[in-house]
């Protein structure tokens, strides 16, 4: 079945990110000018305005900063997924990423600070979306049908 939800555009400076995601690796940017990690990826460091940015491999682990169960308000493309959980995760690399939380057992037992880890959702041949699940969960997404 064709994936019809919004897809990220692959840009010259994000192709490496999405290629890695396809291999199951989460990358974040690192600025060699000010030695800071950056997410989301961009072409100029928002801190020092430096342009010497490269990708580094992230651990894929982090802590839930906040989360919300979407019951009735989803945009049209995500209606069929309700209820689903959106979240902000503070990665161990010191950057914050917006994503979806999957593989949880009891939404109402979730707490900020809970340990989570990345799980990739292959949605097209080019794009695997980095989503998050409680650390240690054995949740996985099905592989793409060829």
């Amino acid at each position: 079945m064709t994936y019809t939800k919004p897809l990220p555009k692959i840009r010259p400076y994000t192709k490496e990110f999405w290629d890695a995601a396809g291999r199951g690796e989460l990358l974040v940017q690192h600025c060699d000018d000010c030695d800071r990690n950056i997410f989301y990826p961009r072409e100029v460091c928002p801190k020092c305005k430096g342009r010497n940015l490269r990708y580094i491999k992230a651990s894929g682990r982090g802590k839930l900063f906040t989360f919300s169960l979407v019951e009735k308000g989803a945009p049209p493309d995500f209606k069929e997924d309700q209820p689903y959980v959106i979240c902000l995760v503070d990665l161990d690399e010191g950057v914050r990423i917006g994503s979806m939380l999957v593989g949880y057992e009891d939404y109402w037992a979730l707490k900020p600070g809970a340990e989570v880890e990345v799980v990739f959702h292959p949605v097209t041949a080019e794009i695997s979306l980095p989503k998050f699940k409680p650390a240690g969960s054995d949740f996985t997404f099905p592989e793409l049908q060829a």
Binding site: K5, P8, S68, P75, I86, R96, M100, L129
Partner: protein, 388 residues
Amino acid sequence: MSIRGKVAFAGYGDIPIGKYPDRTSVQQAVQVSLMALETAGLEPEAVDCILTTRSFADEIYDWGIGLFGEEIGMRSKLEFQMFAGGSSSSAMIKVATGLILSGQAENVLLVASNKWGTMKREKAVDQLAKLHHEDWERPFGFFQIGAVALMMKLAFVYGMVTPEQSASVSVSNRKWAAMNPNAMYRDPITIEDVLNSGFVADPIHVLESPPLADGAAALVMTSADNAARLVGQPVYLLGAGSSFSFSNVSQAKISAMEGQSLAAQDAYAVAGVGPGDIDVASIYEPYPLGTLSWLVSLGLRKDMTEAGQWMLEGGGAPGGELPVTTDGGMLSRGHCAISGGMLFAVEAIRQLRGEAGERQVKDPQIALATAMGGVGNSAFVEILGINP
């Protein structure tokens, strides 16, 4: 140079808010513009500058160049669109102030008109989703209320507010809306109604999110001297402040509430007044916690807990200590997009002119209006008064 008291609102215009499929965005805009000119005692020909913004509904509205001058039968020196989400109208007020004080415009018409009520709900929600980054938020199911919910969730998790306190804001707004003939929803609701209405996105219940509406609003701004000649009682702009905090919620260096505080401090400093001087607070509040955080950031309450308890006890309701959002606000008067933001200024002006009918606050001297854009990305405060 301080702007305090140097420009004034000479007129205002609005129309009933709700679902009006027979009204186009252009017709709505013309109607409120003519009302604003009438309440300002101005002929259309006297307007030399028109500031508009997006309708999101009609192509001719969003693409027509010089359309409003043509529609109301005048030829301006300057007409253009501005956009900063729900705070567009506040940004327009700042630009109009600058144009007037620098002698580049004399009488400025500000107009906003939107059609979220009769547009298909999916289309409106889809439009709002465009506020979110197309690579890093939208593919993950982010949308406007969801992103706001992510931030508001923390206030509940950390015990700053209770669900009842939050719900009481919707109840208070509805009490005011009952006295506003232009409001979309006017029947009383209870805290139980709110808490039983289901979650749009936890922790925001359906009755804690704004009904999308058709609506329009207009303002006429001019110099303080002009306004005094035109109308008996001009409403002076005493101060204005603003702050942009973030665009994508994952990138927030400061919170929406800190942004509100910066805007409030800015506005109070220019106006030379403080929280204790405010007689009416017209607070932009698509969600109850927005009202509570504004009450704190405006210095009107100590913290979120106290603000929540104060609202629960009717502090901002009719007959309460300080009238808050006296037109019913986004939650009951209806969220008509950018024009919904301008209506907070319209209500403050109407109260100060003593023209608010059944919901008129007794002899207010100083009122404030606030606005926000996006998911709390921007915060604006205007302080208005009847003495320059």
